[in-house]
């Protein structure tokens, strides 16, 4: 079935009253779980698996996809308003988003995230419809060596978030790498730095660390510095995006989408790497006056780009699932088990054998996307009003919210000890001006890069040249070198002593 005929069939099924109802329910649930840290789409869909006993397959999958897309929309909300990312893909959004909210631009930040999510979701869904099978075949050509090179590229671009002092930034990055080492090593099955605590065998959850450093650390810092005396209320500012906001968001939305989708399709890509690369790109491409806002009052480019990248990557994750039956994320794995409880075995033949179901599902993604933007844009004003809560109460609320969310990740008291332990570290880091973002980035990239490197070296029998003899890997490495060197050379060139006249 060609894509156009498929979509026609799909929309004819997706636009029935029942299926629209399922999509709406999914979007609502998804937005809600996206807002709550700890409860992600994977857990929600797993908890809803029993509906597969009662509801026909099409309805159930429309519901699940609505939840999946909705969670991506909702994830940015708490990142921006409370500096409390709900899932790892929206950690980067918190960097500029929370700063914008603090300087009274919560409305535009939320709006650019919602519209960016819509654009990225639509581009991603178009990608699923028309490019899916082609892109996935290309993605299969990437092996561990290429993934390692990609992660090196991300490490290089991380310098953009290191902050003013390279020494402080690198210290933070290494703290993150250290935290990432905790747990069972995938290649040998041996526990590392778990101190005999069984809860640490599975490693430290990165969302927990982000919440601890960004939200708990900040709150403890403010309590410590006795700012509660001034019962000040943050300015909420204007809700809608100004003409300038639109102009500045447009490029990042599209660049982020184009960056995110292929990463989502890659079997070991994920949503985190493209958000980092997008952040770096936007920071480098921003005009000088916007550059000033990065890291200070919050630049809208730094929200629009990564948020679009996150959503496009999330759409991309569905491609290997639908075309090859490969579960490349926790959510996709659970959706696959839902397919199985209907007696459908997802695999390379899914499009042929279950054409109607798959195309209905894809059509419902377009529908869900429209519903979500319609649902979320009016909510922007409502959400932004949260900031009208006086600061002491607001921060107390953030603590409660972070604590409940963290307990929800694994129902474990150990996690709460970690949350507050790392929160105290975050408080001191804030006090002594160490940036906290590199910790989280080191924690995400470190373990991924380590495993990819060791997988690549096992395959090459310990031959390190594998990273430069594989052409794609070499190309990515050259890009990393360029990202490292070009800005410095360019800077030196601009500052070169110009011989004066005469």
């Amino acid at each position: 079935m060609d894509p156009i005929a498929g979509l026609q069939l799909g929309f004819s099924h997706a636009l029935t009253a029942t299926n629209l109802g399922w999509a709406l329910l999914g979007c609502f649930l998804g937005t809600a779980v996206g807002v709550l840290p700890g409860i992600g789409p994977a857990l929600t869909i797993a908890l809803l698996l029993p509906v597969t006993f009662q509801v026909e397959a099409t309805g159930a999958f429309i519901l699940f996809c609505g939840i999946f897309y909705g969670a991506m929309y909702g994830g940015s909300t708490t990142s921006i308003l409370l500096n409390t990312p709900g899932e790892s893909g929206s950690i980067i959004t918190a960097l500029e988003g929370a700063k914008m909210a603090r300087s009274g631009r919560a409305g535009p930040a939320l709006a650019t995230a919602a519209i960016g999510s819509f654009i990225a979701g639509t581009i991603g869904t178009l990608g699923i419809s028309f490019l899916g099978p082609i892109v996935v075949e290309l993605a299969l050509k990437l092996g561990p060596a290429e993934y390692f090179s990609l992660m090196l590229l991300c490490f290089v671009t991380v310098s953009a978030v290191l902050g003013g002092s390279a020494l402080r930034g690198l210290t933070s990055l290494f703290l993150g790498l250290l935290l990432g080492l905790i747990g069972i090593d995938l290649q040998t099955g041996q526990p590392r730095m778990t101190l005999g605590v069984p809860e640490l065998l599975d490693g430290v959850n990165v969302v927990l660390v982000a919440v601890a450093l960004f939200a708990v650390g900040e709150t403890l810092f403010l309590a410590w510095r006795h700012v509660e005396g001034s019962r000040q209320v943050r300015a909420v500012g204007r809700i809608m995006m100004s003409r300038a906001d639109w102009r500045r968001s447009l490029g990042p939305w599209f660049r982020g989408s184009l960056l995110g989708f292929p990463f989502g399709v890659m079997p070991a890509g994920g949503t985190e790497m493209p958000t980092m690369l997008s952040y770096y790109t936007e920071r480098k491409l921003a005009p000088p006056e916007a550059q000033q806002e990065f890291g200070t009052t919050g630049a809208i480019e730094g929200v629009a780009g990564p948020e679009a990248a996150n959503n496009a990557a999330a759409a991309g994750v569905l491609v290997p699932m639908l075309t090859l039956g490969l579960p490349t994320s926790a959510t996709a794995a659970i959706m696959l088990s839902a397919f199985q409880s209907y007696g459908i075995n997802p695999g390379p033949l899914l499009f042929e054998q279950q054409g109607a179901l798959v195309w209905t599902l894809i059509a419902s993604l377009y529908v869900a996307n429209v519903m979500l933007v319609v649902l979320n844009l009016p909510l922007v004003g409502l959400w932004a009003r949260i900031l009208k809560i006086p600061q002491p109460q607001l921060y107390a609320g953030i603590l409660v919210f972070a604590t409940i969310g963290t307990y929800g990740i694994s129902n474990s008291v150990t996690d709460l000890v970690l949350l507050y332990g790392i929160g105290v570290i975050g408080m001191f880091m804030r006090r002594f001006d160490f940036p906290t973002a590199p910790v989280v980035i080191g924690m995400i990239l470190g373990p991924m890069a380590e495993q990819a490197m060791r997988q690549a070296l096992t395959i090459s029998q310990g031959d390190w040249t594998t990273f430069v003899t594989r052409p794609v890997s070499l190309a990515i490495l050259l890009l990393a070198v360029a990202a490292l060197a070009v800005p410095r050379i360019y800077g030196a060139w601009m500052r070169r002593p110009v011989p004066g006249p005469g």
Partner: protein
């Protein structure tokens, strides 16, 4: 303590529960009022699937009136296991789903609490593994792969699940049967089935080992070539077993249920009887068929003996690889 997750499960299951409860009432007095089911893995996986299948069948047949679930995932079940052992000690109404993965994981993690600390009740299902090569590979059959492994095991990168797991042990056993050391193998561990399958489909590795159900669709679509399955007998009539191809290796991923430590003998008997009754139900046989699970029913002392043997075999291979 009712937490939010349990609450959510409750609401989600409401639809399903409404129907099953109605049927349960028509049956005779249930054997057990309520049963606490502990899953040492996240929702949606193999252990979770088995636990919820037991719930579905047992409740419909009126064997157990009420189920309560708790999932504590991570590290091959070794995060959840200590919690089950300490919190449920001596309780007659609790079961934990576990299997061969946990045997290997407790050995490699060197956790103080092991599968020996729980009370074996019944083995329910097993799944044979399958050895595959990418469709583009020039290795045509098992003999080709064995020759390559015999010549230089290091040059044959094999992808599979986490290190020390069933797939890794299978490779170790194959190498041992070829007269090589298990340590010489070049095993590439991947987190989760997706990335491992991608590495095989993209021919990043020479071969792959995993559960048959994970690779079945790729084999059917002709994107992977199945060389052998690892069960005692053929699971798929078209694929030979390792044993009949002259490699004396049998390795399956089994799953079963365990009671907490320190329960009274009559409580253990009651749980064993419950499982025997469940296994005899037509609905259970139906469930095995729809889920494509191999029946591997074994209870009581026979299961305990099997477990001890499995433990010894696993430990020997892991020691040789250097992981235990």
């Amino acid at each position: 303590m009712p937490d939010r997750r349990a609450l959510l499960t409750g609401t989600a299951g409401l639809l399903a529960a409404g129907l099953t409860q109605a049927r349960a009432q028509t049956a005779a007095q249930p054997r057990l009022g309520s049963l606490y089911m502990f899953i040492p893995a996240g929702p949606g996986g193999g252990w979770d699937g088995l636990g919820r299948a037991i719930e579905q069948v047992a409740r419909q047949a009126g064997l157990v009136a009420n189920f309560q679930f708790e999932n504590v995932g991570g590290a091959g079940g070794t995060v959840g296991l200590p919690r089950f052992v300490s919190q449920r000690r001596g309780r007659p109404d609790a079961l934990m789903v576990a299997g061969s993965i946990m045997v290997g994981a407790t050995l490699t993690n060197r956790t103080p609490v092991g599968i020996k600390d729980v009370t074996p009740i019944a083995r329910l299902t097993e799944e044979a593994g399958v050895v595959v090569v990418p469709a583009s590979s020039d290795i045509r059959d098992l003999k080709g792969l064995l020759d390559a492994l015999r010549a230089n095991p290091g040059a044959v990168a094999v992808a599979g699940g986490s290190a020390g797991g069933t797939d890794h042990i299978t490779l170790g056993l194959i190498l041992k049967s070829l007269g090589r050391s298990a340590k010489e193998g070049s095993y590439v561990a991947f987190a989760g089935g997706g990335p491992a399958q991608a590495a095989i489909l993209g021919a990043q590795v020479k071969a792959g080992i995993s559960g048959l159900s994970e690779f079945a669709e790729q084999i059917k679509a002709g994107r992977m070539r199945a060389l052998a399955t690892t069960g005692e007998t053929r699971t798929d009539p078209a694929i030979p077993t390792l044993k009949e191809s002259g490699v004396d290796v049998v390795m399956t991923n089994w799953r079963g249920v365990f009671a907490p430590p320190g329960i009274r003998p009559d409580a253990r008997e009651k749980l064993v009887a419950l499982m025997i009754e469940l296994h005899a139900l037509p609905a259970w046989q139906e469930m095995l068929k729809t889920r494509d699970w191999q029946d591997a029913f074994l209870t009581g002392d026979a299961f305990t003996a099997f477990l001890a043997q499995d433990q010894v075999k696993t430990e020997a291979v892991l020691k040789e690889i250097g992981l235990a």
